[in-house]
Structures are given as C-alpha cells and as structure tokens.
C-alpha cells in the first residue's frame, strides 16, 4: 500500500459500533464518495434493525411497508426456518429506492461491517437508484412511501369492508400475473387529471377508509368508455383498448367486465409495485456491481488515508472477497453467475481499460480506452445502461478469458449438449451476445399479450404467447394462472402459442 497521503486518525478501533462512530464513518465515506468519485446521491436515512426485522423485511420483498398477504407469511416462515437452521445467512443490509434513500443495517454488524455496508448501500446503491435511467423513468422515489402507505391502508380497508377472503382472491390472482403487470416497451398512459387529484389527496394524508375507498369512481377509471368499446368493430376495438397489450393487469383493470372498482384498484396496486420493482430486476448485475465497486474503492481509500485500521481493513476485504466469489460451473457451490462478481469485475475492468489499456482494449473499446476520466466513464455507464445492454457494450475479451466463459447450447432436437463457444478470438462476440441475452428480461420472461376481447360477442379474452426458440410455458403453472385470470375476467380466457416469425 502506498504511504498515506494525508495521515489521519483511524475512524474507529474495535468491533463495537455506536451512532457517533457511524456518523464519523459516514462523513468520511461521504467525502470520498462525493468529492473523489463524484457520486450524486439522495439524502440517506440509515436505520438499524434486528435480525427479526430483517426477516420481516425479507418476506415483504424488501419494502418497508407492505399490505398483508399470506404469501409474505409463507416466505417469512421459509426464510425463518432456513435462518434458524443456519442454512441461510441474512443480508448485511437492505436498501430501498426512495428519497430519502432508506437503508437497513443489521445491528449484529461490527463497526467495520457497518462502514462497508454504508459505503455499499448508502452511497453505491443510492447513486445507482438516483442516476440510472430506468429508475428515473419508471419509479417515483419520492412518492413510493406514500404509495406503499396508501396501498397498505387501502387493502386493509378493503378487507374490512369486503372480507379478507374476497381480497385474498383478487390478490392471489393479481400476484399470479405480476410479471405480466409491467409495461416493458410502451409508456403507460398518463394518469387522468382526476386520478392525479385523487393521488394528491392520498399523499396529503386524505385519511379514513371510507373516503379512500371512494376516491376511485367510475369516471376516474375511465369506465364510461366501456359502452363505446362494446360497439366497436375489431380494428376500432384494438385501438380503443390499446391492443395488443402486454400489461395484462393494466388491461384487466381498465376493461374487465366483472371487476368492481375496488378490485380494479387492487390490481392497480399490484401492478404499480411490480412496475416499481421492474428496474431492479433488470439491473441486478449493474446495481450490485456499482455498489461493490464503490465500497471497494472507498475502503481502499480510507485505508490509504489511515482512517481504518489494518484489522478492520482485513475484515472488510474478507467479506468483500466472499461477496465477489464466482465458483466455476463444475463447483458444487455453483448456482449461476454471481451478479456481484460479474458486475464488480466489469467495472474494475472499465477502470483498467481507461487507465492502462492494451492494444486489444483499444481495438474493442475505442470510445473510452485510455480516457483519463474513468470516473466519468463509469458514471455514464451506471446512468445509461441496464444489465443486458451493459454486458453487450462493456464485457471485454480480457474478462471473458478471466472468467473462462463458454457457451453451452442445449437443443432439444439433439441428443447431447454442445459447447458452441469458448473464450477465444472467434468466440468473444458470441459469448458476449449470449451472456447479454441471459440478462434480457424480455427474453427470459414469456412474451404474453392480450390480443383480443370482443365485449359484444362471446367476451372471450384472447391471449397470445409468442414462442421463441421453441420454449413453451410450464403447463402446470400455466393452467393455474389461467384459472386466476378467468376469475378476474369473468368469462372464458384462451391462450394461444404462436411461434415467433423472426429470429433476432
């Protein structure tokens, strides 16, 4: 290690954390994060929680407030069983995409771990949430708390009024369609003015179950359009109902002939939350990579400056090394590519390409190889990419060699699996493309769209599953989901599989 540039006192000594020490550490981290790395973060709200509270948070998809549903209880029971029997540890932290950015730190963490976790979550993840385009476009960090509070109260009020069983039925069905409750390509239609006013009222603490339930009247939900729709012919119908429609929950909310307004509102809540979480699903590698890169840079900097002791530094590195470990495919511990490992390695690699490019790098990355401002290059990557495009753009031959990546093709027509690409000159591009595709949610999740619903005729809801590469839906689950769908639509539902016409 270099000699300390400016020798400073260690921030802490010993494993016990206190709020004073954490504030001191946070200030030191903040200085590096903002002034050196140039991060741009939401204000931080760091909360200390116990193991049980961490389990609570786990079961509710990491959100601080959540409506009640049996599936969360099920997840809690499972996580608790795993945790109690020692088969699963707990995360050191959970961080929420909100403004202020809330991160939950476990009370069991040592001071060294608290420091690491703050650098990771309160600055790394926080910067990513605030700056990545997906989060900026699709999530409302400032409003999520109010929305969650609204959702929780609304569903509790519905349970009170219509009975828990009736609410559960709708929620079960909505959860089954959660992945089909997001807009992937098109922007969602703007909320109407009435809806905006209603939302505003909710935000301002418009309380009382009575009024909360009555906010969403037929007019605000566009119900008066229904009559119009019924008279339209096929092409006009398609236009009026926004068909084909990938967001099935949205479609049901707007057009289901049998749902009551409160049921529509529940669908809306479920799809709003699915949409809110959708960017996180698309940026696992980048989000964790960014946070890991940031904490790694910061702890090294702190150590260089003499602000953390040798012992604490060793502890942090130990934890860091565990987090970024990538077992090889034939290792019993292998369970897919570790997003921390891949993200961190790619970001370190980008920095290397900027600072110390080889000829190969110059050939592959002419845009930024040798660019002295590696911080700027990284910030730009964090802001403008998601996993799929990030890998497609930035995975270097150097890393492919380092990870010894290879592509295995599994064609059901052939008797055996075939190694189709390995880490050589001929394979780099193909491996990069294959790996990027592995992170493309639009490819991973089935492409199912509402294609028609003749409200004047038999009222059958027609769905189309576009089959790519001959991969069909899992039949058992498919039938279950269709049952739920039938309940929400009220009439027959059909799902057709259509082979994709073009390969891309």
């Amino acid at each position: 290690m270099q000699a300390a540039e400016t020798a400073r006192e260690p921030l802490f000594d010993g494993p016990e954390w206190t709020f004073e020490l954490m504030e001191k550490a946070r200030d030191a981290i903040e200085e590096i994060a903002l002034e050196d790395l140039g991060l741009d973060v939401y204000p931080n709200q760091i909360e200390i929680i116990s193991a049980e509270q961490m389990l609570d948070a786990y079961s509710c998809v990491g959100l601080p407030l959540m409506y009640q549903h049996w599936s969360f209880g099920k997840h809690f029971a499972r996580d608790e069983a795993l945790y109690r029997t020692g088969r699963q540890g707990l995360a050191y932290e959970i961080v929420i995409n909100s403004n202020p950015c809330i991160s939950y730190n476990m009370e069991e963490n040592t001071m060294a771990m608290q420091t690491l976790v703050m650098a990771h979550a309160a600055f790394g993840h926080n910067h990513f949430f605030k700056n990545n385009y997906l989060f900026q476009q699709w999530t409302d960090a400032a409003g999520i708390h109010d929305y969650l509070a609204f959702a929780k109260n609304y569903i509790a009020a519905c349970e009170e009024r219509y009975g828990p069983m009736a609410v559960e039925e709708v929620l079960d069905a909505a959860h089954a369609l959660q992945s089909q409750g997001v807009f992937r390509y098109g922007r969602p239609p703007k909320p109407t003015n009435e809806e905006l006013v209603a939302m505003q009222k909710v935000r301002e603490g418009y309380e009382g179950s009575q009024s909360v339930l009555d906010i969403w009247t037929d007019t605000t939900l566009g119900r008066d359009k229904l009559q119009l729709v019924e008279d339209a012919d096929y092409s006009a119908r398609r236009k009026l109902m926004n068909l084909p429609q990938e967001n099935i929950l949205y479609f049901l909310e707007k057009h289901s002939p049998v749902l009551e307004p409160w049921q529509c509102e529940i669908l809306r809540i479920v799809r709003m939350l699915a949409q809110y979480l959708y960017p996180q699903k698309q940026t696992k590698v980048m989000n964790e990579g960014c946070a890991t890169f940031v904490h790694y840079y910061i702890i090294n900097k702190l150590h260089e400056q003499g602000q953390i002791t040798q012992g604490a530094y060793m502890e942090m590195l130990h934890s860091h090394t565990n987090v970024v470990m990538q077992p090889e495919y034939d290792d019993p511990r292998y369970s897919g590519i570790n997003p921390y490992a891949l993200g961190f390695a790619m970001m370190q690699d980008i920095r290397r390409i900027c600072q110390d490019p080889t000829d190969e790098d110059r050939e592959w990355f002419p845009d930024f190889a040798g660019n002295p401002d590696w911080r700027g290059v990284l910030r730009d990557a964090w802001a403008n990419y998601r996993d799929e495009s990030f890998i497609q753009q930035f995975l270097s031959p150097n890393l492919i060699r380092k990870f010894k990546l290879f592509t295995l093709t599994n064609d059901a027509e052939l008797p055996n699996l075939v190694v189709s690409q390995i880490h050589n000159r001929a394979g780099y591009k193909a491996i990069r493309r294959d790996l990027a595709k592995q992170y493309d949610l639009a490819y991973l999740e089935p492409d199912i769209q509402v294609t028609d619903a003749d409200l004047r005729g038999d009222r059958e809801l027609k769905l189309t599953h576009t089959v790519r590469d001959g991969i069909h839906l899992d039949e058992e689950d498919q039938d279950e989901v269709l049952k739920h769908l039938r309940r929400l639509w009220g009439y027959d539902v059909s799902l057709d599989a259509v082979e994709a016409t073009t390969e891309n």
Binding site: P43, I48, I337, L405, L417, I422, Q438
Partner: protein, 445 residues
C-alpha cells in the same frame, strides 16, 4: 440531511398478520399433519408439544403461487457458464438427467419446485389447530392446584444435637483431619512398639545395648500411650449433627390416570378424540407440576394397567364394566400414590355404555373413594357426530351419564362433557383451570 434511526425498539411481529393469513390458507394441510403427528406422538415422551414449537412439513399444493414461466424442457437454449477448463468448440456433453439445464430460467423461483414446505408452528399455534379454534388461555397462568404438606427440610449441620442426627461422615472427616494434624500415633505404631518390647523381654539374657534399647522403647511407648490418650480418637469438637427445619412443602408431583373403555365400540375416531383429551390434561398439568406421571388403565369387563402403546393401539374384546377401571385406579392409588404426596387427576373416556346397574357402583366409587383424594376428575363421553340430540341435551343419556350427573351435582371438581369433535374437549378444562385455587381442600387425608 443524513440521519440515523434506531429501529430496533420497534414493535416486533410486523409480519404476524401475514403469518395468520398463511396459516389460515394452509390450514387444511397443516391440520392433516398435526393430526398425524398427534397420532404418532406419545403423551408421555416429552409431554406432547415442545415449548419451542412443532416442526411441520406440508405439501405445497394450495400454497403455490403460480406464474407464467418458461418450461425447463425443450427448445433451444444457450447458457453461458464460467470456468471452462478443457472444452473446445464442438465438444458434446451428455444431457444431465432430469432435463433442467443449468443457468437460464430459475427452475424453482421462491423454492417453488419443491413438493414440500417445512416450517415451525409455535406451541400456541399447534394447540390452536389441534383443538380446532378453541381459544387457549395462557396455560401457564392458570391453576396450580397444589396441596401443601408440612415436612422437614435439611438445614445444614450443627455442633449440637441428638445422637440419632449424628452425621457420621462429617464427624469422622473432622476426626481424621484433627488426628493427622495433631499427629496422634496410630494403633499400628503402638502395636509395633509393644511387639518389639515383648520380643526383647522374652529374651532370657539381654546384652547391655539391648537393655538400653528396651528402655528407650518403653519410654517411647509411654509417650505414645500418653499422646493417644490426650488426642482422642473422637473428640467432642469433631461431632457434627444434621439439622432439620419444618417447612411447608408444595406438593409438586402429579399423577394422571387415563381411564378408557376399549371394548369393541371404541373405534379409531373415538380413541383419537380420547387421546387428545388425555393429551390436553397432561399438557395443562405438565405446566403446573415439576413432575407428572401417567397411568393408563383400560377396561372392558375387567381392568388392566397397561403402557401407552397398548392403551391406544391394542384391541381387546369383552363386555363393559366401568367400575372395574375405577377400582383399579383406587387400587393403584393405594399402592403407589399416597394422596398426601401426589396430586391425583383422573381422566376417563368412554362411549357411555355400561353393564346393567354398574353405573350406580361407579357413582359410589367416585364419591366415596376417588373424588375425595383427587384434584380433578374429568369424564368425556364420546358420541357420534350425528347424535345431536345428545350433544344438545345434557339431560338425556344412558345410565352412566345419569349417574355421573348426580356425581357432578355433589362434587365441584368433577367435570363431564359430551364430545364428538376435538373442539368440544376444551370446555371441560376451561371452568376448572380458571385462575382460582380450588380442589385443594379435597387433598390430604
């Protein structure tokens, strides 16, 4: 702008509502498992339900959260894997059995691929399901029905006392220590000297050195004898006596008599209900007493004391004479469980049939012999679920029921109940185990 918040003190159990919803949802499955586990469970061994809860494994059906997702079979897939060692392009690998390739879609999102789901029910939840929605009160707080007897307790040692309380071990230990410390000559050293002297004296003629030696020996012996006299073998200083102080002793032992009719009319269902009944009583009592024992008495036209296994599962044919069981219980109490040392609980299950005029005999046995020495006696009559008339009308009933009604009229600590499903069992105990001290006056002789 930044701040820290300590959330640790926030109320726990934020996900309690979710858990309740989950248990309700899985109720059918859980109930099935709990029923199974009761059948397989011994009342004695570990006493029913462990405090830390009961682990149950239920099938996931009904708890499934279905989603649209790609099947793991068929089609064309490409997986990128790390750690290539020897593969070159074109190598083929045998398809792993089971079909699912690595990577790609997660085969079991949320652990869903599994057929079974395991988790732990707390004791309260377990009991709640076991007894179908009875509102279990806080078992612990209720009802320690205990007798008190005056006894004595050891209270250390004293230096004064009566010889019968002499603590020999302590006394001898003190004596030994004192003898060693004061160098009391041993009997052996005295005997050795005496022998040497006798040897010398036996000589007809002694040389002058021998004379001299004899003289020293004699002096030595004299000293030894004197010292042995001064330093006594046991000195009053050594004496230690046990002391006892009188004390009220809480009688914290209980015995539960499980009496059951095992004649042919008691089928699986009846026995299962009876088992829950015994289990619940035992559970209550286990919380109250340091030590509980179970005695199983089964009867047809004669009664036998048997082990639990035989009690519930062995078959026996014969008529039904209830009083034999009561007599057996009395006999066992007389033999092994003196009422001033044991809290005696009786639990009797039957389908209500009895031979001829035996029921009057039962009444008398209970009133004269058993109830005076028992803390509590509960009787359940297991009836058909269809027998609504009986369930709703406590006045109707067979001979045995009628006689027991008379018993109830005379004894507060006797409870009886008709039962056709598990939920009926609890009320028997409810009254009795309310927080008031009761029944103690019947104990003791």
């Amino acid at each position: 702008m930044h701040h820290f918040i300590d959330r640790r003190a926030n109320p726990k159990g934020k996900s309690l509502g979710n858990r309740q919803r989950f248990l309700r949802r899985a109720r059918e499955n859980i109930k099935e498992r709990v029923d199974q586990s009761v059948r397989g469970k011994s009342i004695q061994g570990g006493g029913g339900v462990p405090d830390e809860g009961e682990k149950v494994t239920i099938p996931t059906r009904g708890l499934k959260e279905p989603r649209f997702f790609h099947s793991s079979k068929g089609g064309l897939r490409r997986h990128v894997l790390p750690g290539n060692k020897e593969f070159v392009v074109g190598d083929t690998i045998k398809r792993p059995q089971g079909g699912a390739g690595q990577g790609g879609r997660k085969a079991s999102e949320d652990g869903e691929g599994e057929d079974e789901f395991s988790f732990t029910l707390t004791q309260e939840e377990y009991l709640e399901i076991l007894f179908e929605g009875l509102e279990l009160p806080d078992l612990v707080e209720k009802a320690t029905v205990e007798t008190e007897t005056i006894g004595t307790r050891r209270a250390g040692l004293t230096t004064a006392g009566t010889p019968n309380n002499l603590n020999l071990v302590r006394t001898m230990r003190n004596s030994l220590g004192r003898r060693i410390a004061l160098q009391r000559p041993t009997t052996k050293s005295q005997r050795d000297l005496e022998e040497q002297i006798a040897e010398l004296e036996a000589l007809d003629e002694r040389t002058p050195p021998q004379e001299e030696f004899l003289e020293t020996l004699r002096k030595k012996l004299e000293g030894v004898l004197r010292k042995r006299k001064v330093v006594g073998y046991i000195d009053p200083l050594d004496l230690r006596y046990d002391t006892f102080v009188p004390e009220k002793i809480r009688n914290s032992r209980a015995v539960v008599f499980c009496l059951m009719d095992v004649s042919g009319s008691m089928q699986e269902r009846e026995k299962d209900l009876a088992k829950r009944f015994f289990l619940l009583l035992h559970l209550f009592l286990e919380r109250c007493y340091e030590h509980t024992e179970l005695v199983f008495v089964r009867h047809t036209h004669h009664a036998q004391e048997v082990d639990e296994e035989t009690f519930f599962y062995a078959r026996e044919t014969g008529g039904t004479i209830v009083s034999t069981a009561l007599e057996k219980m009395k006999e066992i109490i007389d033999e092994r469980y003196p009422p001033d040392e044991w809290n005696i609980y009786g639990a009797q299950a039957s389908d209500g049939e009895n031979f001829g005029n035996d029921s009057v005999r039962c009444k008398n046995l209970l009133l004269n012999d058993l109830l005076p020495v028992s803390q509590f006696y509960a009787y359940v009559e297991i009836v058909d679920e269809a027998a609504e008339m009986l369930l709703n009308n406590p006045e109707a009933g067979e001979d045995l029921w009628q006689n027991y009604r008379e018993v109830k009229a005379q004894a507060q600590h006797f409870e009886m109940q008709r039962v056709s499903q598990p939920g009926h069992i609890y009320p028997i105990f409810r009254e009795f185990f309310l927080p008031k001290v009761k029944g103690a006056q019947y104990a003791g002789s």
